[in-house]
């Protein structure tokens, strides 16, 4: 599904160039659950942004289903983001003024789904995640775990082919962390989606059949990949 070849990514922050990826190679098969580990600031999130078509590599290729995401026009990337990729963020990134249900609906807006169908599908998705009784609540009225469930519902309601999760349990307590990662694992098994989870938490990464480690801008993969100290 994904084929990354000699990917470099440099960006400027605070006037200083930051080399996030430096010749990274990675392959992800369809339906695979891959955990990407690595210390903070080693390029994990950058890798996820590239996989989701949210950023372009400075050089190298990021092939998704044979198409180079680095070369696709913005309009086509937007379509891919709307249809094929679902995102889950560490900070949930829910729209604070919209209810849980409306937040889930936002993912169906770019697909042009009619309002009634949008609402029905969103409500069903929330129900699947045990959140239907919180549909009318604003994010500020929900706990961290509940907010992340709403964010997962938003990512999955459009039935994407890939679910990209950036530190999905980073802001949660241990018990909620286990609930959320179990939920993601369950959804991966039931829906057959490709799941890429970026995490620095070994407990979370340990749930994935395959792990990759980012170190000095390069990716090492394999079941026995170890996070450097």
């Amino acid at each position: 599904m994904y084929e990354l070849t000699d990917v470099h990514k440099t960006f400027v922050r605070g006037g200083q160039p930051i080399r996030a990826l430096d010749g990274a190679d990675l392959a992800v098969d369809e339906g695979e659950f891959l955990a990407v580990q690595g210390p903070t600031g080693q390029g994990k999130s950058t890798l996820l942004l590239l996989l989701g078509g949210l950023d372009r590599p400075t050089s190298g290729q990021v092939l998704f289903e044979g198409r180079d995401l680095g070369e696709l026009p913005e309009a086509e990337l937007a379509i891919l983001r709307a249809e094929a990729f679902g995102f889950v963020f560490q900070t949930f990134n829910l729209i604070p003024t919209l209810t849980a249900l409306e937040n889930v609906e936002t993912a169906l807006v770019p697909l042009g789904t009619p309002a009634a169908e949008r609402r029905a599908r969103s409500l069903a998705m929330l129900g699947e995640l045990g959140m239907d009784d919180r549909a009318a609540h604003l994010p500020s009225e929900l706990s961290g775990g509940q907010q992340q469930r709403v964010a997962i519902a938003r990512a999955l309601v459009k039935e994407p082919r890939v679910l990209l999760a950036d530190e999905p349990t980073g802001n949660l307590d241990e018990q909620t962390r286990d609930e959320i990662i179990s939920l993601l694992e369950q959804l991966w098994r039931e829906r057959g989606i490709t799941l890429v989870v970026v995490t620095h938490d070994s407990a979370v990464a340990g749930r994935a059949p395959r792990r990759a480690v980012i170190e000095n801008g390069r990716v090492r993969t394999g079941d026995g990949a170890q996070v450097p100290n």
């Binding site: 950023d55 309009a75 937007a78 379509i79 679902g86 729209i95 003024t97 936002t106 807006v109 949008r118």
Partner: protein, 486 residues
Amino acid sequence: MYVTYIRRELRRRFKQSLVIALGLAVGIALVVTVSSAAAGVKSAQGQVLHSLYGVGTDMTVTKSATPGQGGPQRFGGFGNPPSSGKQRISRDLLRPGPGFGTGTLPASAVTQVSALSGVSAASGALTLTDTKFSGTIDFGQGQRGGNGGFPGQGSGGPPSGSPPNFSINQITVDGIAVGGGVGPLTSSQVSSGSYFTSADTNALVAIASTTYAQQKSLAVGSTIKLSGKTLKVIGLAKASSGSADIYIPLATAQKLAGLKNKVTTIYVSVASATQVSTVASAAKSALPAATVSTSADLAKQVSGALASASTLTSSLGRWLSFAALLVAFLLAGLLMMSAVSRRVREFGTLKAIGWRTRRVVAQVVGEGLTLGMIGGVAGILLGVAAAETITAIAPGLRATVNPSSANSGGFGQFPGGGPGGGSGAFPRPGGARDAQSVLVHLTAPLQSNTILLALALAVAGGLVAGAFGAWRAARLRPADALRSVA
């Protein structure tokens, strides 16, 4: 979703939204107020010009008096005064006015002007001043004066009796062409009774201005005396301050004043505003001895508080509105841009889940437009309230037309020289008519185009505000947005 999102977002940023909407409202309210006041001043100027000029008139043709001209009627004719004792004198003089330098034109001039290219209507009018003089002069026991007209000016010695005791009353009378279409009075101004019909062409009938009728307790059916004749009041007309007191048919006026086939003013309506100067030149050529003045000429002569108000609304008011709007637009734009900057993660997330840039931009512009419309409605309401306040409390404004303007004669003198009279003359009493001073009440009428302008400004303000924010949102790259908060 679109509307819900806008509503919730604006409610969340309530204080900021309020500041933006109020800023736009103040700017738009100023525009509405100034536009309404300007319309009011324009209307007041129109009233002034109408009262001095005539309804639907683009230009007038008049003629200054030449020595000896002025009609057959003269004061004097008192005969030889007695050698002693008191003599009661009562005279009614109807002569061209309002200025004593007002001359007459032959009625054929109206035909000449009518025939000019570009003239859509022309009619003659005879503007007269009726002066009623009554009183007693004590000639005492002194020597008989010479051929003196009035005391002190005769060629003989002064009468030796007590000072004269007399009063002078003046009213202005317009003789207007029946069915003329253009002139100092139209049927639409008649508030009660009726306008002249063709049957009234030579009749002893009159229409009184409501102001004069009120002063003299006249009503439809009352009678008035002019030059010794009794005229029946058939209507009352809402004429502006400064207009004539009495209107009578032209032929009747000519007969009463002894000015057969004479007019003092030709009122001309021109087919197109762009032709006014051309027609004025043609009229000047056709009638070289006459004075041709256009409404623009007369407007230039208007001075006084009304002219000051006009200057105030046209310069200071407009600049103030412009400055307020500019500040409001800038404030709205900057606040919207700041709001978008604080929503970087929100818009980055929306782009990440597939929202296109144009949808995000539409969202921001929608918020700006909504604020613009709220500000617009509030601004219109504020503006209407301000305009109503102006209408309610504004004092009357006085406009004065320079006596040197075409229709005025300046301070003239009664020509003496009646039979038995001397060469006596005295300054015209009550020369206010020469100054052509008109009092108008300033209003600030709200016009439909002002509302449209306000709505257009509201939309523009909203678009400006939205555009600032949208520009920021459009430049937002989702990766940068998400990375900046990671």
